[in-house]
Amino acid sequence: MNLLYSHVEESLRDSLRDLLRARATAGAPGGDGGFDAETWRLLAVELGVAGLVVPEELGGAGASLREAALVMEELGRFLAPVPYLGCAVMAATALRVAGDTALLARIADGSACVALAVPFAGTPATIEVADGVLTGRVGSVADAVAADVLLVPAGGDLYEVAAEGPGVVRTAVVSLDETRPLVDLALSAAPGRRIGPAPGALAAARTAGAALLASEQLGVAEWCLDTTVAYAKTRFQFGRPIGSFQAIKHRLADVWVSVAQARAVARYAAGAVSGVDLAGPEPRLAAALAQAHCGPVAVRAAEECVQLHGGIGFTWEHPAHRYLKRAKTTSIALGTAAAHRAELAGLLDLPIAPGSR
């Protein structure tokens, strides 16, 4: 599998950086509950990346999750407060597997922001469904604060529920990562339209999400490394740039090594989930590997960023803490590294079962 960036991806990256740099969202939560509507509009409508994985016949770009991973990487680097993961990756994947076309077309033309109504971490909640109306609660849902449509799994099926419709209440949560706000969702007899069976769609969405979240973590880690290196070159203590001190050098070299590895792993995961079938062992293995590796890499890069900035890194004003919070929350969301290692154990036939000693 090719783990490099293609020319198309490089040019997409340039466009994204131009846009995100101009929006200067890095490190600041969006105006409306942590969501930056204008950046999202520019990404979805102007740049068309919301529909990157939507087939061309539905108005999308007909690209694969591999290109979407590149978007995730840049969104991580700029910490853009937009629901790309929830809408353009996870919901779009779930819709594709569940056999929907209408909502996919609306994602592609930017007319609908769609969110999967599952907790950002942990197991899905139970929603009751009867006569086409849904009732229940889902806690800590990501990317739903600005959603127009919620995809709700209930009774084995996936339902479309209007986010602003009757019987739907979204309550903002005080999120550790303010740039990816969570909501608690309460449904009381909310009308839903059945889309298709849920289990395969949810599993595929989760695999796609885990695989591509690694690219976001890569972007976060790269920002942290680049920012720390730049600071270490210009911050003088004891008459020298602190980056000339050997202990600092060696720690940054170690971060660089782990980031170089994260890049290979994230690219591999993006490639492994870019085919049609996400239920096979290799996409699942690649996604688990990606989360087992890249989550901790981003956390460590962000921790070193805070530490090596010293006092200033501990302040609210410096953006380092926002990357720290993003890194930590993504290392828990969609499963901790330890949970993904346990998943790998199953896929690799390396069982835990203790022996006699």
């Binding site: 008459g239 901790t336 330890a338």
Partner: protein, 387 residues
Amino acid sequence: MTDVRALTREFLASAPPVDDPLAFLRARFDAGLAWVHYPAGLGGLGLPREQQAIVDEELAGTPANDPRRIAIGLGMAAPTILRHGTDEQRRRFLRPLWTGEEVWCQLFSEPGAGSDLAGLATRAVRDGDGWRITGQKVWTSMAHLARWAILLARTDPDLPKHQGLTYFVCDMTAPGVEVRPLRQLTGEAEFNEVFLTDVHLPDGLRLGAVGDGWAVARTTLMNERVSIGGTPLPREGGLIGVLAALWRDRPDVRTAAAHDEMLRLWVAAEAARLTGVRARQQLAAGEPGPEGSAVKLAFAELAQRITGLELELRGADGLRHDDWTMRRGEVVDFEGRSPTYRWLRAKGTSIEGGTSEILRTIIAERVLGLPAEPRTDTTVPWRELPR
């Protein structure tokens, strides 16, 4: 030999009523029972430090000063004033410092002088019979409540950096002193920035000779380091207790993979705790060792790892904070607050009071005797240093 217990009982018999705490504390100071190892007339009796325990035992339950309000005064300002102050300065400052009537803060660190404190840029220029101070200080706890500050400023930028410093007491009510809250990644403002703009200080507020600031500051810093290390904890005291309790109370958060990690942290925490116990025994035996630095280094790393694992165990709950409202930080309470608060606050433990990097260098050079790096910043005039 002075019978401290008898003295204390005598004092108690004639002490002001305990419902007037300030009068009581002042009288206790005047009786020499504030800190018995201080000289007579300055709140003490010139006795060995250990005897304070007897006084404290006898006076248990009587009015006490607020440890938070007097922490910086007690731990840093007082020993410095005692050692380097004039008689007049000692008489003026020590009593209200100890009673808590006057809160103190410390104006040392600057945005450009963190680990390299001796590189600081705040200028003190002769101004008539006093000094004019201009500069910016940072990471100042209690500045918004303080009456006085200990202040390190540069009086001669043409000397090498350690030689051009002078130590002052800064009047925090003087014109030109501006205190602004400094918000941390927890959302709170525990600390302050302090802007000094043409602040006039009379020469009587200078502590030690002009140019002796670094030597005076070493007294302050040595006392800071001793005061860190905290109180002895029982097994599973502190953050590891929080994690262990979570594990015991919430079977739903347990995973096989986290089990060994949790036990590693338990072992590391108990090892660090026993190291602290041993360090205190050495101190008590009159053989103070360098293990205090080991305790601080280990505490910082443990605090970060334990709180990080806790968030992972809590899953979705670990993604939620309690409150981002900007508040004046109160006491740092690792155990009582939300899991996200303690995870965030723990990031400061390897930065404040000497970064872990500086501590490692100190251990390597002072404990292990490893040679210093070639230095380029100690012999040239401060003015010429790159920054």
